[in-house]
């Protein structure tokens, strides 16, 4: 019980920290709105007046993009990766390793706090308004809402584990510049964050369904617009659970190796 209390304390602290720097938090909204405008315009233009493509209606597709941008903002609200990498480079990470908490969990719980603040004060109001004024499709049953929230949360966990695992490679590599760009590009493409998997060329679609990234954006988005429905929803969420377990295990493994590395280097 005390452990839970300790970690939720990080959540509370991060929430208050966001509140103190609310100007910085809200400016992020500007960038989110511009990207939202961009992707909505792109998909509107791609449909070029057609009502549907590959069985997906324009309304459903625009909803997909909006939900995706919402989740992108949620996923981007936590501690940025470079902050952690900077701690590794400067050696400040050693201070955190000395303390009686688990660093990956500590950052996860802190992220919950920053995300909560951003969602409550900026994202939810904006997106509620958007659904009010733009012709988008809302889920027809409350069950879909609940499943979407679960799926979105699992996606958040998958992204967190993968991104942090990747970030930990800083322990071994001094310069991650080039690899980092390729990593972020692969995630953004294969997660279906801007193009849903069903518009991919066949081979790439098959490839993407075997990877964890689809669990970050594609599955929750598709559940929201009810493109995945009925029994398939539970299968998809099962796949997400599977990837949370796998990516968490890998994260733990890499984390153990990485912290040993710090101890070996010492000083």
């Amino acid at each position: 019980m005390d452990t839970v209390k300790m970690y939720t304390a990080f959540t509370k602290k991060a929430f208050m920290r966001s509140a103190a720097y609310r100007f910085d938090v809200w400016t992020r909204l500007v960038s989110n709105i511009i990207f939202l405008l961009m992707w909505m315009s792109i998909w509107f233009a791609l449909y070029a007046g057609k009502e549907e493509a590959s069985g997906i209606s324009l309304t459903a597709m625009l909803t997909y993009v909006v939900v995706s941008q919402f989740l992108t903002a949620v996923n981007g609200a936590g501690t940025p990766l470079w902050e952690l990498q900077e701690k590794v480079r400067t050696g400040d990470i050693a201070l955190e390793l000395m303390r009686p908490f688990d660093v990956p969990l500590r950052y996860l719980f802190a992220d919950f706090g920053s995300v909560a603040f951003y969602m409550l004060t900026a994202l939810v109001p904006l997106y509620v308004l958007l659904f009010f004024f733009v012709d988008l499709s809302l889920p027809t049953s409350w069950m879909t809402w609940i499943l979407f929230i679960i799926s979105g949360f699992l996606g958040f966990l998958i992204r967190y584990c993968i991104e942090l695992t990747f970030g930990l490679f800083t322990f071994w590599l001094i310069e991650t510049g080039g690899i980092e760009d390729i990593f972020y590009f692969s995630v953004s493409l294969l997660s279906g964050s801007v193009i849903p998997l069903w518009f991919f060329p066949g081979w790439l679609q098959t490839f993407a369904t075997y990877l964890p990234f689809q669990g970050i954006y594609f599955i929750p988005n598709a559940i929201f617009i009810e493109e995945i429905s009925g029994k398939d929803v539970f299968i998809s969420i099962g796949i997400q659970f599977f990837w949370v377990a796998v990516s968490y295990t890998i994260l733990r493994f890499v984390w153990r190796k990485a912290s040993n590395k710090v101890i070996v280097q010492g000083g």
Binding site: D24, T27, R28, V30, S31, I34, F35, L37, M38, S41, I42, F44, A45, L46, Y47, A48, A53, S54, I174, E175, G177, G178, I179, E180, D181, I182, Y184, F185, S186, S188, L189, V194, I195, F199, F200, P201, L204
Partner: protein, 269 residues
Amino acid sequence: MTKIIEYVRLYFRLVGAGVRAQMQYRFAFIMRIVGMVAAYTGTAVTMWIMLYQFKELGKWNFYELLFLFALAVLSWGFCIILFFHFRSLDTYIVNGTFDRFLVRPINPFFHFMAMKFDIGAAGQFIFSILVFIWVSNAIDIHWQFGKILFLLGAIIGGILVQGGLLVFISAIAFWTTKSERFYWVVMYPARNLTNYPLAIYPKFVQWVTAFVVPFGFVNYFPAAVILDKDTPYFSSYIGYFTPLVGIVFFVIAYYVWMLGLSRYKSAGS
């Protein structure tokens, strides 16, 4: 005139030292270039997948889209070399290190500009030139003298528009001691916006990118002239104004920066 030559010579002296310093970290340098090329290739791949089924985006096919994108990348490459560090003026002001640009007998704007020369921009040049060659072959763009001259004008205009905006953002720091943040939340997404033909955006956005923050002149208007595309709401000759728009915009930005400088009070001790 002799003064200009003097400044050009001085510029290369100043940045030469920086370039030599960067070349010492050869691995980091190569990784940066690889990263840049990879990131831009990533966007190009995204465009390809996007058009795999749909074929056209607002009447632009894949090659035309790629050309539009590469044109923005090319002028951005020059911008990185000349002006990209302007966005972090806030750090210099807050740390009090900006003062050193004021105590030398040269123009502070020039001095700040010559402070950094990022050779990583080679990545932008490699990517955009390869794309130009590929696209020119694929859709038969004939590069006669006039067209090459037009392209040069478009590149210079594009550098000045984007550079001007960076100078504007930098100038905000004189009043608010914040600038870097504005780059990431406004200019970075706005640059992404212009990777796609402006014709797909709402009329209001197109109007702003033509007359307020003239991003449209970086690639959309000139590319429309070169590729002979329609620019709805705008005359098809608008692309020819690119160098002029660039010069006017940059001169305004420069004066705003100098105005900010005149009311700058050091934060140092």
